[in-house]
Amino acid sequence: MLDRIEESYKALYPLGPFNVGFTDRNFKTVSLEIITDTLSYIYEFGIEEPRLIDTLMAYDLNAAKINTLINQMHDIRCTWISYSDYYVDQKKHTLILMSIKPVALKSLFSYAKYYVLTYFPQPQYFDSEGRLLDKRKLRRLRKINGEVFKRINSKVCYAVTGHFR
């Protein structure tokens, strides 16, 4: 399911850039960021609200497929999906960042934790402990949003963090 969400988002994003996620604990409020050349528009809708579809259509986005994506995210408690850019040797690269809220119970005063996955378009370099590296030669750990990521496979990494984006 995770890969299906990632593939669906990757296919939809070039048609009209957007980020989407859930900003409440009950997964009822959809936060939608629509990115244009000059501005990013931030909206919040109830998951059942017709305004959500109307807004997607108003921006000429594929409303049906994005709605399916939102429902898939809802089903697996995927909190957020977005594109993020990073630079290697002054060259821009992009990755897909996806976060999932675990269902396990936690104590009342402990921090909320999220599993954050990064999907890179090409294989990455890792150290012997499986930590994501900046480059093969320079043994500097690559941090994304201040977090060190670990290997799942050559293109996918994960971190457990206190923020979903």
Partner: protein
């Protein structure tokens, strides 16, 4: 490398004192939107003057003061800022938003002053602007050009140098416990900007007639916020100091302190 703050008792104590200061005042505060209406004063230079000035420079020598800044990238970044003011970007996950908002106003108010100040800072390692003397610390000079994983800021060394210099020069009460730069401090209290500090920077660096309403922990009493902001946007520039935890949620924590965290220049 900075030691882990949470493992040292003195840092825990500092964090506790700071948390107490915030908590004591929090019951009086709601999600903060503090306001800075800024009335445009005399524009000191024009964008065209700044463009003519920077376009005459085709090449920069490496600066001994800033060993990690590549001169070509520095010049490109400076020219981009002058040509396209909205290119200003304070970076992902940093506490540079206050300096970003200030720089955006600076580029509108005195773009030539911005260009000459940054070039002097780059070439001489220190600079004087109006009556302000910027003398960045050695740690700043080593770090500028090396900030990574901050989005476009990674490839903008002129902005890295400028934001680090501002954070190094201007201090407010949020910076009391972290006054000297260590690696990663751009994301920590070292770089934070409070209400009074932003005011001070605005008044010293810009030629605007600025007027501030509100406080760090108290919302301004201005009646209808919408009407107040709209009215002031007709006659000047408005900078908002808002609680970004509400606008830009990053977690699902129920208990959130009602303190402002983010500076935004409001424009139509």
């Amino acid at each position: 490398m900075k030691p882990n703050q949470h493992t040292r008792p003195c840092h825990i104590l500092k964090a506790f004192v700071l948390a107490c200061v915030i908590l004591v005042f929090t019951p009086f505060a709601k999600a903060g939107t503090q306001l800075y209406p800024v009335l445009p004063g005399k524009v000191t230079s024009t964008q065209q003057q700044a463009i003519e000035y920077v376009e005459k420079i085709s090449k920069l020598k490496p600066s001994a003061h800033w060993p990690n800044i590549k001169p070509g990238l520095f010049l490109k970044n400076l020219k981009t800022n002058i040509h396209n003011i909205v290119s200003i970007y304070p970076g992902k996950s940093t506490n540079f938003c206050g300096y970003g908002a200030l720089s955006y106003l600076f580029l509108q108010d005195d773009p030539l002053g911005y260009a000459t100040l940054l070039l002097q800072l780059y070439g001489e390692g220190k600079a004087t602007f109006r009556s302000i003397i910027f003398e960045p610390s050695a740690a700043i000079k080593l770090e500028a050009g090396k900030l990574k994983y901050k989005g476009t800021l990674d490839i903008n060394p002129a902005e890295q140098m400028w934001y680090l210099t501002l954070a190094d020069h201007y201090k407010g009460y949020l910076n009391i416990f972290n006054r000297n730069y260590d690696e990663g401090d751009e994301n920590r209290f070292w770089a934070s900007v409070n209400y009074a500090k932003f005011n001070r920077m605005t008044r010293e660096l810009l030629h605007y007639n600025s007027k501030a309403r509100g406080a760090d922990l108290m919302r301004p009493k201005v009646g209808s916020l919408y009407t107040y902001i709209s009215d002031h946007m007709k006659t000047g520039t408005v900078v908002l100091f808002i609680n970004n935890r509400i606008l830009y949620k990053k977690d699902h924590i129920r208990l959130k302190l009602g303190v402002p965290t983010h500076f935004i220049v409001a424009e139509k």
